[in-house]
Symmetry: D3
Subunit: 202 residues, 6 copies
């Protein structure tokens, strides 16, 4: 059909990342919610969308932010999970936060090996892990906010026993400043307000 | 906890888009695969990742492409489905391709109403629907390629009865030219080769 | 084993309708309930059973009703969904109620093409879509009542966020009269009473 | 909203029958297919549809058949399962075929108690269990045929290990005669032919 | 790879028992919880673990108990279900308690036929069915307690409509005495207390 | 109902272990099989049953083995996963085998803290991790054999893409000797034979 071409190096990366579409976020199943509640891929989509909308608010208030970089980080921030799994939070207690970061970074590097001759994906990943750039911190905020919006959606549908997720909302450590911080806190505030209304009505 | 702030307009958009995490792609369930095979959100993640890797190949071969725009289009290209559902292909026969586009565009506009005072999301969506820009056509290619890689992954896991999805691969209409076309065809080629190997081994 | 017979024209229709056994009703997944909550086939079963019991009440109160016709309409009223999907309610806003009806009628006609040389299935479908006959209106009432009983069952099992489904119960438009109307309202009333008790106990 | 009416006796029957929408047919899960493959309600829908199409073929060939009765039997033939479960075939070996029938008949009688002051549902059920009438035998044929079409659909989607279901197709005991028998055998024949083609292509 | 050996008689037993990993406990699906809530195998694991911890408490208070026997009974007590299914409680009403026991014992005997030349598994099963030994009664208590802990876990996750399961906790008939009884009642008590706290908080 | 008793320390352990009933084995979902294919609890049940049958073969051939100890180890060998998750095999590459063992041992110790004043559960766990005793090595063999029987069952049901699991069967390192080794290899042999027959037939 086509004449044979030199094979581009991408397919095995994409095939491996397909697996994130099915990998359950263990936080839900460990708390008694059904399998299939949320895949890692679906969460990554949620984080990316949240990050895009937040970044556009940043831009609207004249905060200098590289939106392309934001979206790249958001899309790739959980790729290591295809090799190490979606470890529950408690796992960090036993492996240690630093060992976990190292292992995930090594896993990420192997996942992208085929496509990362320049090291640019790995650099973005490391930036995210270290929360170095504003873009990395923005994505981390989006990661937390998407989690809380997911919890809110589950609670609206009747799920209970998810209170511990709201603890993070009590003392957020977004490491942002000025208007950036304010925008993120506003969104957090509106999530908390929506949750308050939910439980007032029950 | 925080002093009340003027609520930013984003939350109800994000809550609505959460729904894509659970919405099944009907193509699989209609062909007898289990519920939960792939959500619209997981597919959007796959398209975005594929689009990012393709765009980086474009850049590597000096094709001028706006990667930020690519990623934005990829992330938002299926948002209308939260209001109209993931209609099977056959639906287009009965509604008409034009009516479907109009309905989806109207739905998209309503979904983003709260966050789209500038109309920029809607413009990206229309661009995608019309395949106007190179970026839109690149995302469309990624949409097809992610579908085929998903089919390949399902077939590797034992699924059958998905032959009709490969028809599109026979006469691809990506509307790309030159190196851009070649890169996309190379990836397609390597997918077809992997599939050929799969069925040779069975 | 058997001597070859002229193939009767039924099998591809039946194979296609099998797909309804797996197709999720999108109303539940869009509201955060798990995939597999209710298939279109399971709903059609519920409507048919409800319609049969209602029709027998009609008969018991000497209302002239063609029960065979009732059951036929109930069984076939959602067959078009195998081609156009189970569109969420909001879809109608964007396609228009009339376009949706036309598309679904065209899809239905194609689904039954093999078995409907007389046009009798299509006629029953059109009757249902237009709510022309008493039987069609009875099935429409059963369609709404089965939905509400499903919501009640889900709420009893802990589901929340389904309030909007009860709005339809506030101002029912069953287009029935006399004893027929009264029977349907009685059942509706007992559903509402059961729901009231559920939420009193929580 | 409405003035209180004497409650009609139907709701608890309908609530109980809702449970069939979720009850898995154990034949599939015991053979390693995923939970949610087919509910009892979905199967009942399949049987009813198959029975309707078959009955219409009977009518077309001037076989006297009461279609209303066919549809009633098809819809109610598995209601006892809501109380005794969907017992696997092997269960009959240990309980005995007669004890199983008696238990299921007693369960059916209790399920419909509220709505069956005339005993008409129970009479239809007993007719089905004894295969007395032509209508009962037609529904039994539809029960087997829907099972085989479901197996065919699963095999087309990649399922294996279901060979034992085809044994029944080898020596069908439909207890029908003349044209009625021929129509059913024709459909069976076309199912077997479709299966043959499926496995020739693999 | 290896030299052929005389095949040990175990594999078909193990293959058949694999099926319990997928077989749903019908109690949950009949009450509107999702398919996959709890498999028979997962329940057997829960009963075995509960029995082990209870037995160790017995030992700690100098109650003579054969822990190996406890664990054997716990692991095998539901194997008959692979042939007769997980019958809902109501099924016993229609089959009769004695007939159910006989059928399940016969099924169990067939399941273990290949590995039970000594009859020791069947003897343990009969002991359990008759609650003859202390070990059998301990496992029965663990069976009830695991059920209640599962209900508690589901309620914590938002499930409702499971009140009837708590009735058994009102008048437990564990047929135990002295310290053994006290240990079991203590655990029951702490379950009830945890449940009380759950519903006080809602 | 009962007079208050000093609460025994067991319930929170049991509640936490309930979570294993829902936690998916990630090996399956990462390979494209549906969520809910096998829970950690269901696998633990399978390992325990396999270990019991194997241990009884050992006893029958006069190999001294502590069956109670075997069953205890089999039941508890995966409890750490409730805190660290079911990490895929590749995870070990990045964390290191030793760090993984240490983390899991620490997690296990915390899981049983409430019930393990004597340290006996932790000792059994360490024994298993080090494969010190014959009983530990027997359970490890059962762990591998249950995995392979599960793969065989999935392949019989149509799953594909699981070849890599059979690699372990090529060069088994069960660290057993004499008759013990022979019994395990016999079972392995019969699994491989069954698999060979499966694929001959396809």
């Amino acid at each position: 059909m086509y004449e044979p071409l030199p094979e581009i190096q991408m397919l095995s990366t994409l095939i491996e990342l397909q697996r994130l579409k099915r990998l359950d976020r263990t936080g839900w199943t460990l708390r008694g919610l059904p399998n299939g509640t949320e895949s890692v891929a679906a969460h990554s989509f949620g984080v990316s969308v949240t990050a895009m909308l937040l970044a556009d608010k940043f831009v609207a208030r004249d905060i200098a932010v590289d939106v392309e970089k934001v979206l790249r980080i958001a899309l790739l921030h959980d790729w290591a999970e295809v090799r190490v799994g979606d470890m529950p939070r408690t796992a960090t207690l036993y492996f240690g936060s630093e060992a976990r970061k190292q292992a995930e970074t090594a896993a990420f590097t192997d996942v992208v090996e085929e496509v990362d001759s320049e090291g640019s994906y790995t650099n973005l990943y490391k930036d995210y892990e270290q929360r170095e750039s504003l873009e990395a911190r923005l994505v981390k905020a989006a990661d937390v906010l998407d989690l809380l919006i997911q919890v809110l959606a589950l609670e609206r549908a009747g799920a209970r026993g998810l209170d511990e997720f709201w603890d993070v909302a009590e003392k957020p450590e977004f490491n942002l400043e000025g208007d950036a911080k304010q925008i993120v806190l506003e969104l957090l505030q509106s999530i908390l307000k929506a949750r308050g209304e939910l439980h007032r009505n029950v």
